[in-house]
């Protein structure tokens, strides 16, 4: 996994609450069996809608954005990790929102994408700046746990220590769990698979 330490980048404001993962990556793109190549399908239906309003990611001002601002409960709904793969593949390294759905936040942490929780009023202020200031950038420092811009905005955020550690180091946590082999084996010895739950080895 790509480590996340400090990221400074262009900010795209998506000022909507409860953005679900069906919007982030619509179901017609979940049939791929690879982890890559989802970026072009990010927010596909919103980017290709016939409405008058231009979707923020189609706005040339935000081309190349690495940080997405969003409303509360971002990433709710389906557990599809494809949503995070699409964000990352599109170029986003971080999402800043007042809250995230649990599974989505978990999925971010497994893919080197930082989910930053800031109070609603701070996110609203950042949205305002991202709309008003050309080429508006934020710097997100995971080591110092700070979000800053060059116009005096500065705030701290919290994240649990283990998620921070994994992101900073780009760790594969499967490897960490495997270090507990003896404890897992001991647990399995204490809890053998009941005979009745032995499953068929083929489809019947």
């Amino acid at each position: 996994m790509q480590p996340f330490r400090v990221h400074q980048g262009l900010v795209a404001p998506l000022d909507r609450a409860n953005v679900d993962t069906d919007q982030i990556i619509p179901k017609q793109f979940l049939k791929r069996i690879e982890r890559t190549g989802f970026g072009e399908f990010l927010f596909y239906d919103w980017r290709h809608s016939s409405g008058d309003e231009q979707f923020v990611l189609d706005d040339p001002r935000y081309r190349g954005a690495g940080i997405l601002l969003a409303g509360k409960n971002f990433g709710c709904g389906s557990s599809r990790e494809h949503a995070v793969w699409a964000l990352a593949d599109f170029g986003f390294r971080a999402v800043v929102a007042p809250s995230f759905a649990d599974i989505f936040a978990n999925n971010c942490s497994k893919n080197g994408v930082l989910a930053v929780v800031l109070p609603e009023r701070e996110v609203a202020e950042l949205v305002r700046r991202a709309r008003e200031v050309a080429q508006y950038q934020l710097k997100i420092d995971l080591e110092q746990l700070r979000v800053t811009d060059e116009r005096g905005f500065s705030t701290s955020f919290t994240i649990d220590d283990f998620t921070r550690h994994c992101l900073l180091e780009g760790l594969d946590d499967i490897g960490l769990t495997m270090q507990h082999e003896s404890e897992i084996a001991a647990y399995e010895a204490r809890h053998p698979l009941p005979s009745s739950t032995k499953h068929p080895s083929c489809s019947t």
């Binding site: 409860n18 179901k27 049939k31 409960n73 599809r80 990790e81 009745s196 499953h199 080895s201």
Partner: protein, 470 residues
């Protein structure tokens, strides 16, 4: 640790393998359910790292999301879907994982077949790369939806690092009124607490109305916990649970049964156990609900109206509602019963079990689907389909003009050919009314199976409490 423990804490404690300092506890997973959409990249990860599946016997796979619901002999016309199904077949063969394949008499939606095969049992820790894994909590299991990286983690280690969620008790007092189902209870709860009302929490459902629910009803209720943002939902097992599990294919056999059930009887919260949040619901105040917006929290009673924007409190709520109304093609103040539907979908891991189909068939019997409506019934599994056919439910539906199809996730998420066309309006027994969920531009209203069947016949939403049953 407090001596008084909740049901959740008892199951949690039983599954802790290790508490590494500075890291989330490692939980042992008894049952890992796998389907074709969220697993190929996980198996690829195993291959790339030279890892095996640690416990193939605690892993069970099926195909459900992509499978067409047309007769099984017909080819899968979508080559990308076929490739994904084939990938699961190959992965299961390579890693020794049991698979209930497309032609198996046990194929079905992963959250339908787990319980009906007796794989899902009280007190288990269950995961699946699917948010509706919460369904299995109906048995007093700790059942968590996970992402693909976590699927890979569990395949490789049979463990999941998991931060302990907070707990929320939802107590439903009284009894559900006539015509009000577990689905309406779920919608009523989400309408009250919101789609992020339970974020970071595990919900335990209790109270008279929950205890009175069948296992099917409890599954419907727990299924939609995720729609309130919860990590999982649980109901303490009781005689209804034990009777459901008993005798199923992978249930504990007769000679072990009593011993196991005695252990399961301890799976209940101690009196005065602590919850981080308490919610009380008065069952008598619930009604058959219909969603009007594009998230499952936007519910109104069928006798109500699409809300006026002026009744919403904040500017953000008003602009969000305005957007939803535009997408849904609705005007504020419209009576719900005046909203006409084009399509009806009865199915999904929320409402595709035998009891759901019986309820819908009771409504449909002796009526005809409105000529302007296309209605389909998609049983949750091949076993549900067969049981329904033995009771003649297929004939009731077909005589009324409903399509009777093969099992799968179908139009709940439209990964297979069952989708809405842009602008089509659907009364659906599924769990999500997100934009485009059932097809790009499609408009979804979530309802119970009875309400869906009634809408198919009336051609618009109609209050099931006034229905003329034949």
């Amino acid at each position: 640790m407090s001596e008084k423990r909740t049901l959740f804490e008892k199951v949690w404690d039983e599954h802790v393998v290790s508490v590494p300092p500075g890291r989330p506890p490692l939980l042992y997973i008894d049952l890992h359910l796998v389907h074709e959409v969220t697993s190929p990249q996980a198996f690829d990860g195993l291959r790339a790292a030279g890892r095996r599946v640690r416990q193939p016997q605690r892993t069970v796979a099926t195909v459900d999301h992509n499978v067409p619901t047309t007769p099984r002999g017909m080819p899968i016309t979508d080559p990308i879907a076929a490739r994904q199904i084939e990938a699961l077949q190959n992965n299961c063969r390579e890693f020794g994982v049991p698979l209930f394949d497309i032609d198996s008499p046990n194929q079905g939606i992963v959250h339908v077949i787990g319980p009906e095969l007796g794989l899902t049992q009280p007190g288990m820790a269950i995961v699946c790369g699917d948010s509706h894994t919460s369904t299995h909590g109906a048995f007093g299991a700790l059942a968590i939806g996970i992402g693909t990286s976590e699927v890979e983690h569990v395949l490789a280690t049979q463990c999941l690092p998991q931060r302990k969620p907070k707990t929320m008790m939802i107590e439903v007092r009284g009894t559900l009124p006539e015509g009000v189902t577990a689905k309406d209870l779920a919608l009523g709860i989400i309408g009250q607490i919101g789609t992020d009302g339970a974020t970071g929490h595990l919900i335990e459902y209790a109270g008279e109305a929950v205890r009175s629910l069948s296992m099917e009803g409890r599954m419907t209720l727990c299924n939609m916990s995720i729609e309130a943002g919860a990590r999982a939902g649980m109901v303490a097992p009781d005689e209804i649970t034990f009777n459901y599990v008993k005798g199923r294919r992978f249930a504990p056999p007769g000679d072990e049964w009593e011993k196991v059930v005695n252990r399961w009887r301890n799976l209940r919260s101690d009196p005065e156990a602590h919850y981080d949040k308490l919610i009380e619901i008065d069952a008598a105040k619930l009604a058959p609900f219909v969603t009007w917006g594009t998230n499952p929290g936007m519910v109104v009673p069928v006798s109500g109206r699409v809300p006026e924007l002026s009744t919403l409190q904040t500017e953000a709520d008003r602009s969000s509602a305005q957007r939803m109304l535009e997408y849904m093609g609705l005007k504020p103040g419209t009576r719900i019963e005046d909203i006409a539907v084009d399509r009806v979908f009865i199915g999904s891991c929320t409402n595709s079990r035998l009891e759901d189909l019986r309820a819908a068939a009771r409504v449909a019997r002796g009526h005809r689907v409105n000529p302007k409506v296309r209605a389909m019934v998609v049983p949750g599994s091949q076993a549900v389909k067969q049981a329904a056919e033995q009771e003649g439910l297929d004939r009731i539906f077909q005589e009324a003009g409903f399509e009777w199809r093969e099992s799968g996730c179908s139009m709940c998420l439209g990964m297979n050919p069952d989708i809405l066309q842009p602008g089509e309006r659907c009364a659906s027994t599924s769990n999500r009314n997100f934009e485009g969920r059932q097809g790009r531009g499609g408009r979804t209203h979530l309802v119970s199976p009875m309400m869906a069947a009634a809408a198919a016949i009336a051609g618009h939403f109609t209050d099931i409490r006034n229905w003329r049953f034949n």
